[in-house]
Symmetry: C2
Amino acid sequence: MSMDTDTSRPKYELVADAIDRRAGELNPHDALPSERELMQQLNVSRMTVRRAIEQLVRRGLVYQVHGSGTFVADPAVVTKTLHLTSFTEDMVQRGLTPTTTVLSSATTQATAEVARRLGIQPGDEVFCLERLRLADGSPMALERVHLPPLGIDFATIDPATSLYAQMEARGWTVERAAQTIEAVNLDHTQARALDQAVGAAALRVTRVSFNDAGQPVEHAMTIYRGDRYGYDLVISRHAG
Amino acid sequence: MSMDTDTSRPKYELVADAIDRRAGELNPHDALPSERELMQQLNVSRMTVRRAIEQLVRRGLVYQVHGSGTFVADPAVVTKTLHLTSFTEDMVQRGLTPTTTVLSSATTQATAEVARRLGIQPGDEVFCLERLRLADGSPMALERVHLPPLGIDFATIDPATSLYAQMEARGWTVERAAQTIEAVNLDHTQARALDQAVGAAALRVTRVSFNDAGQPVEHAMTIYRGDRYGYDLVISRHAG
DNA sequence: AAGTGGTCTAGACCACCGC
DNA sequence: CGGTGGTCTAGACCACTTC
């Protein structure tokens, strides 16, 4: 196979790509070559083939039946699994252009609720940021973010751009996030900021993000306009 | 180790349990024994140890740092990853008692939208079920479910109990589901059924469920009372 | 340099499916 | 029965962190 030019990516990913390409030429529910065949054709060990297929199964591209074979899945949904995206990434993915208006930005003391969610003490210094997020120029969401004091100089944060990107750049990689999604009626202030009628339905998404060590690195509360925003997700039984 | 009495469960799960127990005795961010140590102590190969740890990483119980070690994660959230549950399971998990009132139940012809989502032709026979779901006796959600004609005799379905359980029993295992969550204002009919004010905010969850071959096996639209229901989920960057 | 996790191999046996 | 995926082993080398 033509994998000998790439040294940076692990072999099982290259194998996964190769199998994926082959699956693309077949119809749904067609059988793929057996693992032992693939292993010979691609000149890798069976474990590498299995690891590659494991990825494809998780992505919903193929499925396996014990004793029978590996088959191409029906592509009904597939794609867009669920990525843990920032507002910026989310809007870009929907084909919209995101912009941001900073409403306030300050270092304050954590309230009891914020402290509890961030695993710190009430009164500890936190960075609080309130922003209006727009898509294609019109208001999409109101957002209030709290960052815990984890060794970052709050003064160096640019409140107008993607926080996730800035966190990544400083080695804060977000690995997991817990969210609660609720439906609320907009009050006067929110309605005015979002250019909506008072009482209009909106989504309130409350999120705490964690790094891979399970430490909270962000708390965010976002209110999305109900008429412009829907929350899409694909749940799979595995992978959890 | 004491794994010699169990033959039904794969060894890597038993190893995962053993490592999990050991992690439970440590504090967050404490180091676990290295993979090579565990492999000797538990008398298994390294691949089995790694596969066990891989599960624990996905569950958020431990984390690994290349070149450094495997550590106990901060248990901040952990648990309740995201299960793909039915209304019944969901309510039980919240400590509520679910009951159901069947509003209508009939075999009809698929509308264009339902047909598109279920991957069938408009006009094909589908089973349509409308139910009011209650928790601890008070209304929680309004639900409309469509089932495609996949070889099940619709007449044998009990509309008053969990559809997921009945589907499982007939070998329809749901493997994946795509959902859209939106915020809506209740109209008169919905408000009356849910014992809410007209215009109150509610969550509308639209779901298509798939088996492991990617075939749609259910389409459901559910409207949850906004004052009683929130949608919790944990997103992890991996496992997708 | 020593120790850690990350990748990969070659081979084995088991459990399940279909003929 | 032969072929399939599912599990497991023993060993190797690489990449990275820590000292």
